[in-house]
């Protein structure tokens, strides 16, 4: 089979997984289903990064989103419900106006995307990017990199301070 054809089939397969599981996240009644559909959305976005030649970002996406943020969200789901309460339903409100706004946003974006003539300077070849990203972080982006690391530390300390119980004097 043709290599380009296989690439296209795989791309549309992963794009369908991404968009379909994102729809499950939004429209499912059960919180647990939403959380696990979010897992497939993150995997789908990581595979799209692979198609875009961003190998470092695909690995980062898997480690941080799937390993970190999704687990954190599941903790949030479990800790904010009573134990043995298996009825983890979530309700919606303003469903029809939300649906209309969603459709308006999507149609506007799709119209803009389709009607713009994007400048094409050719694709970057599929090379490993990790070494180049590391050099950029240590040379051009060293100040934002350090600020981001301090920011992450502050955010985590702040999160621990917020959830601390204060009643034990």
């Amino acid at each position: 089979m043709d290599k380009a054809l296989v690439t296209q089939i795989l791309f549309y397969f992963f794009a369908a997984i991404t968009v379909g599981s994102a729809a499950v996240v939004v429209f499912s009644r059960s919180l647990i289903y939403s959380a696990f559909a979010l897992l497939f959305t993150f995997f789908g976005v990581a595979s799209l990064y692979v198609f875009l030649g961003a190998d470092f970002l695909a690995a980062t996406q898997l480690v941080i989103y799937v390993g970190g943020i999704l687990v954190l969200l599941l903790f949030g789901v479990m800790l904010t419900h009573k134990l043995y309460d298996l009825n983890l339903k979530t309700e919606t409100f303003q469903f029809v106006p939300g649906l209309l706004i969603m459709l308006a946003v999507f149609l506007t974006l799709a119209g803009v995307i389709m009607n713009t003539s994007w400048p094409s300077r050719g694709e970057r070849p599929m090379n490993p990017t990790t070494a180049e990203i590391g050099e950029l972080f240590m040379k051009d982006y060293v100040l934002p990199f350090e600020i981001a690391s301090v920011f992450l530390l502050i955010a985590l300390i702040g999160a621990a301070m917020i959830v601390r119980r204060r009643d034990s004097q």
Binding site: T7, Q8, T18, A22, A23, V25, V26, L31, S34, L38, T41, V45, L48, Y49, L52, A54, F56, L57, T60, Q61, Y65, G68, I69, L72, L73, G76, L79, T80, T90, E91, T92, F93, F95, G98, L99, I101, M102, L103, V105, F106, L109, A110, I113, W118, S120, R121, R124, T129, E132, I133, L136, Y141, P144, A148, L152, A155, L156, G158, A159, I162
Partner: protein, 101 residues
């Protein structure tokens, strides 16, 4: 190969689903999932533009920063949701209306 617009359409789908989740869900954790969808769609846009319209990797660097912000945001937001559950005994956003006049 796959054109740029297809990536952008996938990203637009993710963005509008995230908007939908933020607008209509009652559960605070589910709203957070919508925000994660929005951040992911922005990241997908950055990486796609980085691939198709520039020779350097600045778009991917920006995507790394977006991931860092998303991790910090998820941690702080979950902490706020947990303390809100402790104080108000609910995570439904329409019932936590103490500040309503």
């Amino acid at each position: 190969m796959i054109p740029l617009t297809h990536y952008l359409i996938v990203s637009a789908c993710l963005f509008s689903f995230g908007i939908m989740a933020v607008l209509t869900r009652k559960n605070a954790v589910n709203v957070l999932m919508g925000i994660e969808l929005i951040l992911n769609s922005a990241n997908l846009n950055l990486v796609a533009f980085s691939k198709f319209s520039s020779a350097n990797l600045n778009g991917q660097i920006f995507a790394v920063f977006v991931i860092i912000i998303a991790a910090a945001e998820a941690a702080v937001a979950l902490a706020i949701v947990l303390s809100m559950y402790r104080i108000v005994k609910t995570v439904n956003l329409d019932q936590a209306d103490t500040l309503k006049g």
